[in-house]
């Protein structure tokens, strides 16, 4: 809502500057976003009068104008043609500065000297008239008066940022009431008593309201013998200050009244209303209407329309119809001022995407009493500005049940909620300034809330009114008292945080990607239609495919990040994200879905970054597996099994499923080269995604401590050459079986394939730790066990490496 400060002063004297008022309003709940000077900088442009018009000697399209500015006369070459002798015009005298900025100087135009310029409205910064049309000022404009002063360029515009509860301030007069509440000053209401002719409105039009719920009040006046033309400049200027484009006198007046009272009006060309009858009804299922914007709308019974004797002529409260629009030819109008059901207006405006100044006000609810005042005020302005005959009376179909609300408040409770002591008198004073009527009833105060404030229905609403006008800054400071409650994060949330600590300690950076997913990205992972992750939950109203569904895996999010970083030459990346994925129990969703937390890692490039001292190794499968092992070890989860099995998007022989106690924890694997190609990943990437809930279920957050061994260990190394198809897991299992209880640890410390090792084989070197709890081991004992281990390995096809 744009509020012209000068216009506001017609209703109340704030007694302070616009800036001060803005600050005061903001701190009491009507936020003023900015205060801006209305007009642009202008200097040297003054009111002049056209004294003489002559054709330009050399150019047909130019005119020589003599413009008098008080004592001085300027000869000006002008391209426009809409002025006549005697018109008052805006003369930019030589040396003037126009917005742009543009400097006006004397010039020779096709052989004729031109001393200055006649300005169009647009040239002085007003969104008015045509480009090639001189601005014609009002006849009584004093000669020589600076035009910026004449037109109120120094006015200030307050841009209100209204919350939905305070849409009363969508009308200037209610803004004035708000100022009154702040200052205690009086509100002056504008006159609303039109002169009427003897002919009765009943003889000119009929009104019928079929749906009283959707239209609780409908009033109409008829004005005859009018002539449609431009509004006087003062009215156009006022509309410009409100941010409304002036159109023609009748339409401008209805807009003016809407701005003044917050009550939208609509004017119909009565000659185009069939049978001169207005019927407010629901539309029929096959009816259509071409609205003012020229679009044909299909209607049905959900839509409230204004119809004439035969067809709809307007969407009630939203937009008028083209057929009954006010045109240059209009000579009699029917002015509608009505109240409609806010919800219905809102639905219609949304359905046709037609949010308008009118619908915005109706959907927040208009004051049923003001309907009549606005109607009469409009008729007065029409008679003053347009002329014509205002027919006698108003047709008023009124089913309204609106009565002022009564709210009981207790000063004691006000103070209890606010945590302070505001005196009863002060509370009463504030309610008086709000123009709320009160009746004191022992301890209680009964407040009668005027209809213009439908937002106030409860004692709490009054508490807010008192608090905001008393001043939030005067409310004291305290802290909640009372017993302390258990106040920490849940075990699971703390585990999440601990995981983040472990992963960052391993060099990983935490990412946050959108919970949305473009389903195409799942196809780009080559997931089959049967894959559970393809059952994404669709978003009904995304504004792009990127939000089309909810994610079922974090992998695409991290791949996108990897790709982005590779593009920006950050080649070595260790990334992770811990976040929810969304699993539908059934589609379409009937109930809340499962929100499962996943831990996702992605690694690419080398680790550490190339440097002079430590070797850089590829951030590959084993790097990520190492980090995963760290996590599992830290949480004391054993019984983990890695099964060589790939995902559709991971490398067929460089992938594993991770299983704990027979349950699938997740997977780890290098991105399949084909998929890497689809995602523009120019270097190998390894990903891992595991289930947080299962991890949390199996985790031992508090470590179990065993005694430190008392007897020394014996360590033996064993280098083997084994067929390539025997897995490390197999070797380890065999060694452990043969080694018995005294073999406490088997550690691989070297792996080699290549020269000196026969084709199809590889060499592995293990360090074996033997220990017994109760005694020191003898060499003989260890040797015996070692022989058993070797024999077991030999039977697998292993040989000792020389």
């Amino acid at each position: 809502m744009q509020v012209s400060y000068q216009w506001l002063k017609e209703y109340i004297d704030p007694g302070m500057s616009a800036e001060e008022l803005a600050e005061k309003m903001t701190l009491s709940g009507i936020e003023v976003g900015t205060v801006e000077k209305f007009g642009p900088e202008l200097s040297g442009v003054v009111v002049g009068q056209v004294l003489k018009l002559e054709p330009h000697p050399g150019r047909d399209n130019l005119t020589l104008v003599e413009a008098g500015v008080g004592k001085k006369v300027f000869s000006i070459v002008c391209g426009a043609r809409n002025m006549k002798v005697g018109d008052k015009v805006a003369v930019a005298t030589p040396g003037s500065k126009l917005p742009g900025p543009r400097l006006i100087e004397e010039a020779i135009l096709y052989g004729v000297k031109s001393s200055g310029m006649l300005c169009s409205a647009q040239e002085i910064g007003l969104e008015l008239g045509a480009e090639d049309e001189i601005l014609i000022l009002e006849n009584d404009a004093p000669l020589g008066e600076p035009v910026d002063r004449l037109l109120g360029f120094d006015d200030e515009i307050l841009y209100l940022e209204l919350t939905p509860n305070r849409s009363d301030c969508l009308g200037m007069i209610n803004v004035a009431y708000e100022v009154a509440a702040l200052t205690g000053n009086e509100v002056k209401l504008p006159p609303a008593n039109p002169p009427e002719v003897t002919k009765s409105v009943e003889d000119a039009a009929k009104i019928r309201v079929d749906d009283q719920l959707l239209c609780p009040r409908y009033t109409a006046r008829v004005i005859e013998n009018i002539k449609i033309k431009r509004s006087p400049l003062w009215l156009q200027m006022k509309l410009l200050k409100a941010g409304i484009r002036p159109i023609s006198n009748i339409v401008d007046i209805t807009n003016y009244i809407m701005w003044e009272f917050g009550q939208p009006l609509h004017a119909f060309d009565l000659q185009h209303i069939n049978e001169r009858e207005i019927i407010v009804r629901r539309a029929g299922d096959d009816e259509e209407l071409i609205t003012l914007d020229g679009v044909k709308r299909k209607l049905d019974s959900d839509v409230l329309v204004i119809a004439d004797g035969s067809v709809p002529v307007g969407l009630a409260g939203v937009m008028g119809g083209e057929d009954t629009e006010i045109t240059d030819k209009t000579t009699e109008v029917l002015v509608e001022a009505a109240a409609f059901d806010p919800t219905n207006i809102r639905r219609t405006a949304r359905r046709f995407t037609l949010p308008s100044e009118a619908s915005q006000r109706f959907e927040r609810g208009v004051d049923h009493e003001t309907v009549m005042i606005a109607q009469n005020r409009a008729a007065l302005l029409i008679s003053q500005i347009v002329g014509g005959d205002v027919l006698k009376g108003v047709i008023d179909v009124n089913y309204s049940k609106a009565i002022p609300k009564k709210v009981n408040v207790s000063p004691k409770r006000i103070n209890k909620v606010l945590g302070m002591e505001i005196a009863r008198d002060e509370i009463i004073n504030i309610l008086n300034r709000l123009r709320f009527q009160i009746r004191e009833n022992e301890e209680l105060i009964e407040v009668i809330v005027p209809l213009r404030r439908p937002d106030i229905t409860l004692e709490e609403d009054i508490i807010e009114e008192v608090a905001r006008l008393y001043g939030y800054d005067k409310i004291p400071i305290s802290l909640p008292s009372g017993e302390l409650i258990e106040n920490r994060e849940s075990e699971k949330e703390r585990l999440k945080s601990q995981l983040k600590n472990i992963l960052t300690a391993c060099g990983f950076y935490e990412c946050i990607s959108y919970s949305f997913i473009n389903p195409v990205n799942l196809v780009r992972l080559r997931l089959s239609d049967k894959d559970k992750r393809m059952q994404t939950i669709p978003v009904q109203n995304p504004f792009s495919e990127e939000q089309a569904s909810m994610r079922t895996t974090i992998i695409p999010g991290l791949l996108k990040a990897i790709q982005h970083n590779i593009n920006h030459r950050e080649l070595n990346q260790l990334l992770f994200e811990i976040g929810s994925v969304y699993e539908a129990k059934e589609l379409p969703l009937k109930d809340l879905p499962f929100e499962r937390v996943k831990i996702c890692m992605a690694a690419t490039g080398v680790v550490p970054e190339p440097n002079w001292i430590a070797p850089s190794r590829e951030a590959d499968f084993f790097m990520v597996k190492g980090v995963l092992e760290k996590v599992l070890n830290r949480l004391q989860i054993d019984n983990v099994e890695y099964k060589a099995e790939s995902e559709p998007f991971t490398h067929p022989t460089r992938s594993a499923k991770i299983i704990i106690d027979g349950k699938l924890l997740g997977f780890i694997g290098q991105i399949h080269p084909e998929v890497a190609g689809i995602w523009d990943l120019t270097q190998p990437v390894t990903v891992c995604e595991i289930d947080f809930d299962l991890l949390a279920e199996k985790a031992n957050i508090v470590p179990r401590v065993e005694p430190v061994p008392r007897y020394p260990a014996v360590i033996r190394d064993l280098a083997l050459v084994v067929p390539r198809d025997i897995t490390a897991l197999k070797l380890e299992t065999v060694m452990k079986e043969a080694g018995g209880v005294i073999l406490t640890k088997v550690k691989l410390f070297d792996l080699y394939e290549g020269k000196q090792i026969p084709e199809g084989k590889r060499s592995l070197a293990y360090s074996l730790t033997f220990r017994r709890e109760e005694t020191t081991l003898t060499d003989a004992e260890v040797n015996d066990r070692l022989e058993d281990i070797k024999n077991a390995l030999f039977s697998l096809g292993a040989v000792l490496r020389a």
Binding site: P164, E363, L479, C506, F508, S513, S515, V539, H564, L575
Partner: protein, 342 residues
Amino acid sequence: MLQKLKELEKESQLKIDKAKNLEELKEIKVRILGKKGALTTLLRSLGTVAPEERPVIGKEANNLRAKLEQAFERKEYELRDAGKENQWEKERIDITLPGRPGLLGQKHPLTLVTEEIKDIFIGLGFKVAHGPDIETDFYNYEALNFPADHPARDMQDSFYITPQLLLRTHTSPVQIRVMEKQAPELPVRIIAPGKVFRRDDDATHSPMFHQVEGLAVDTDITFADLKGTLLLFAREMFGSEQKIRLRPSYFPFTEPSAEVDISCIMCAGKGCRVCSDTGWLEILGSGMVHPNVLEIAGYDSRKVTGFAFGMGVERIAMLKYGIGDLRQFFTNDLRFLKQFGE
């Protein structure tokens, strides 16, 4: 006698200092501390001293011996090192070379800020609660006093899953979920961090962002308590000099409601570009829990009161770290993430 000991000390120290090599030092040591050395000789004459003075002198002499032995040892190291200069040179390292790289990542800035907020409120006796990202219309709107078709719903444009399910537009549904579960038990004191979603996407809005909700309900919670709690938070988060300003506002689920500003952290309230010359920065919305909300969640609004607040984590992170572009939080650009710790 004492005098003689002092002189011997002085003399010996001089000789030690002058020794040019290990042999020389050894010789001096024998001459002073050896069996026939100066100190021993001196002590032999102890007999001539009065018996009552003997213990004092004996103690002094022992001290001197220990002192001199240390001096010899120190000199010995010095002479030994002096002989190895070639070796030291050979073993020289360039200490200006960078150290061996260790691995250390960092949490996302939004995680860092959320953890900080959580810690502050945990310290004030708040418990952390959570709710789902996909919510029912009831929890996200209806129970929070946003009736269907109410213009207040325009304040937050939502992503719908079905007519009854949507992506939560704020963390406020957690208020209802917590109260419903706990009612009529008192007190309630929670904060709820989480993701929220709104149908906006431009330079200053992201379709997904993060909030932290706060709620305190008890028999005597006041607006002053809200103000005090938020002031404390602002000071913990942005510095002990912080001021806050409450402005009346509107949220359907609180009444009275307030927007909360902190004094601009860029200009300390003097006015600058960041605060549009107002000296204030809006950081959160708050208010006293609306009676309709208390009632629907199972509390008697005549007997209990509460306050609630909600803040945008991105907004706070942007202010705290001086981040200009909201979208940077979700591109996961390492050049951005590494600035929070490389």
